[in-house]
């Protein structure tokens, strides 16, 4: 079910503030995209537009050759999964119950979870390393633990497109790398598309095939990571001085910054 996302002149505004301004892009299956840019540059709004949570004020978004607006909610939920930035749950569901919510788009209204759904949910928990949380209440988990539960829920949704909106902001480096590795495995093994909002440029450099730099609602630069992750782009988008070099230890591009005195 590999499908292209095609954005053409997409714009969205909150009142007078243009959050996304004339973005045209094609997102190809089997690629890991990093969405990068300063705070308030429109990254989350762009994800919302891709999720059809908001409708573009101008321009079109197509998924698999069909306008996004033509899909039903459930249909879309079988194609796109989102790990949101902030996650709150107000009632004491268990971890397994929350991960199984990822199977909702596949369940008939009065049907219950099948053995297959359960197996998929358990595989998702195993991939993120939270099998031992299975019967714990999500209301009693730490912020980082909750975030991993939400990633497992998105994996259980079993979609060809996975969007991560700062999905590792509460996580230590070990769990951060774990989640990026799981996402990359999906891209390599299943030809999935991953679109991740990333603030840490070194993480973006290590995992993303392509980077999409946004600034003030517009595309600042976009293309293969090795070509566009340059001091010039970083200066233009973030206004900081940097050096980009291949790191001998990781083999990935490494960004160093001038920190000031």
């Amino acid at each position: 079910m590999a499908e292209h996302f095609v954005l053409d002149g997409v714009a969205y505004a909150y009142g007078d503030k243009r959050a996304v301004d004339g973005v045209s892009l094609t997102l190809t299956p089997g690629r890991f995209y990093g969405l990068v840019g300063p705070n308030g540059c429109g990254k989350s709004t762009l994800l919302d537009l891709l999720m059809a949570n908001r409708r573009p004020a101008a321009g079109t978004i197509q998924l698999g050759g069909r306008p996004l607006a033509a899909y039903g909610r459930r249909e879309l939920a079988r194609r796109l999964a989102l790990v949101p930035q902030d996650f709150t749950i107000h009632f004491a569901f268990t971890v397994l119950e929350v991960v199984l919510m990822g199977r909702h788009p596949y369940l008939p209204r009065f049907g219950s979870v099948s053995a297959e759904d359960l197996a998929i949910a358990e595989a998702a928990m195993a991939a993120i390393g939270i099998e031992s949380f299975r019967d714990r209440y999500v209301t009693e988990l730490s912020g980082g633990e909750k975030q991993r539960v939400v990633v497992a829920r998105a994996l259980a949704q079993d979609t060809p497109v996975l969007m991560l909106d700062e999905a590792t902001s509460n996580l230590d480096i070990g769990h951060t790398l774990e989640i990026f590795q799981v996402a990359r495995a999906r891209v390599r093994e299943r030809n999935d598309t991953v679109i991740a909002v990333v603030h840490n440029l070194n993480l973006a450099a290590a995992y993303c095939d392509e980077l999409i730099f946004m600034n003030q609602g517009r595309l600042a630069a976009c293309g293969p990571t090795a070509e566009i992750l340059t001091p010039a782009t970083i200066r233009e988008v973030f206004g900081v001085e940097s050096r980009v070099a291949r790191d001998a230890f990781s083999g990935a591009l490494q960004v160093s910054f001038r920190y000031g005195s």
């Binding site: 919302d48 999720m51 949570n53 909610r73 459930r74 249909e75 879309l76 939920a77 079988r78 796109l80 999964a81 989102l82 949101p84 996650f87 709150t88 749950i89 107000h90 009632f91 004491a92 569901f93 268990t94 397994l96 119950e97 929350v98 199984l100 919510m101 990822g102 909702h104 788009p105 369940l107 209204r109 219950s112 979870v113 359960l118 299975r134 019967d135 209440y137 209301t139 009693e140 939400v150 949704q157």
Partner: protein, 350 residues
């Protein structure tokens, strides 16, 4: 949501439902026997069986007043109390689920204030053009009008957030409360009637009330169970539930309107009875977990049992009848404080 997660095992919910159902049936029979004229449970069952089967032989040897007391006085009151209790509890489940706020209850959106305003208006203006049904009818219309205003105030761009709904409910409720105070100030001999209505009562309920409350409970319960899984997922927040295939905005509106209609009928029939819709969902969530489908069913049963017992206590146990709304608040309020403190302690240690 599932039967696979150990802490929220289905078997436990089924057993609890069976126990509640048995207790409810027993409570109806025992309560019907209690009162100024004492009737044994066996006699109650025989009278009801005689009426249902039309077999007059079952009534042989009975005081002829028994069938009248049971069928025309006590049962309508008892069943209305139970059905209203169940209806309020189901509404509580839905409101707490939609507003993502465990402190929400069927009255959070001002339904009770609207009903009270409508009822007070009918009482003050002596509107009896529609016979004895005028006050409940005005109460119902008042509740619906309030719901419409609150929904209008809180929707923007097709979206309603929990916070704007709660705030709109509070504001509209405050305005209506001022209106009710003013009517009390203007009213002469009707003041007592307004106060009496506001405190809730099941005195002199008829089979019509039973029918209305039954329809309200069943329709509210059906909608709550039908959208129960969506409501579970909506507890993750709107952005997440949208991405999981739930039409959050639409489902929220349907559930709000259905639960409000149920609450409006309950309030119109009985006056304002607080805390049932707040406490019962909490208790049941504590016992069987937060899955809204089973929560709605169990809360309906437990709410029915609780309000029936409370009404029986005020009717047949206490030396003088305490208004039911006062009784539920006096028992429910402190109990709620206890739950609230426990929750806070739990959060601090959690």
């Amino acid at each position: 949501m599932t039967s696979v997660s150990a802490p929220h095992d289905t078997g436990r919910a089924v057993i609890l439902a069976a126990l509640l159902l048995l207790a409810l049936a027993a409570a109806v029979v025992v309560s019907t026997g209690m009162g100024f004229i004492q009737i044994t449970p066996a006699e109650v069952v025989r009278v009801v069986a005689a009426r249902l089967s039309g077999d007059q032989a079952l009534l042989a040897g009975f005081d002829p007043v028994f069938p009248y007391v049971i069928m025309d006085v006590r049962l309508p009151r008892i069943l209305t109390a139970a059905l209203v209790g169940g209806g309020l509890a189901v509404c509580g489940v839905v409101f707490q689920g939609i507003l993502l706020n465990p402190l929400a209850d069927p009255y959070t959106l001002g339904i009770s204030s609207g009903a009270a305003f409508g009822a007070s208006l009918a009482l003050v203006l002596n509107l009896t053009l529609l016979g004895p049904g005028s006050v409940p009818l005005f109460a119902f219309v008042g509740a619906l009008a309030t719901l419409a205003v609150v929904l209008y105030l809180s929707s923007f761009d097709g979206q309603m957030s929990a916070n704007t709904l709660i705030l709109s409910g509070v504001i509209v409720g405050a305005i209506l409360a001022a209106g009710i105070s003013f009517m009390k100030y203007l009213a002469d001999e009707q003041v007592a009637m307004i106060i009496y209505w506001l405190m809730g009562s099941f005195a002199s309920k008829s089979w019509l009330d039973v029918g209305l409350a039954l329809a309200a409970l069943l329709s509210g319960l059906a909608v709550a169970v039908y959208y129960g899984r969506d409501l579970n997922i909506m507890s993750l927040g709107g952005r997440s539930s949208d991405s999981l295939g739930v039409e959050t905005a639409r489902v929220r509106k349907i559930l709000l309107v259905a639960a409000s209609l149920t609450a409006a009928v309950c309030v119109s029939v009985s006056g304002i009875i607080g805390f049932i819709g707040l406490i019962v969902p909490h208790l049941m969530r504590f016992l069987v977990g937060p899955d809204n489908r089973r929560l709605a069913v169990l809360s309906a049963l437990a709410g029915a049992l609780l309000l029936l017992i409370a009404d029986t206590v005020t009717r047949a146990v206490l030396p003088a009848e305490v208004p039911i709304g006062v009784l539920t608040a006096l028992i429910g309020g402190p109990f709620f404080c206890y739950i609230f403190r426990r929750r806070q302690r739990g959060m601090m240690h959690g």
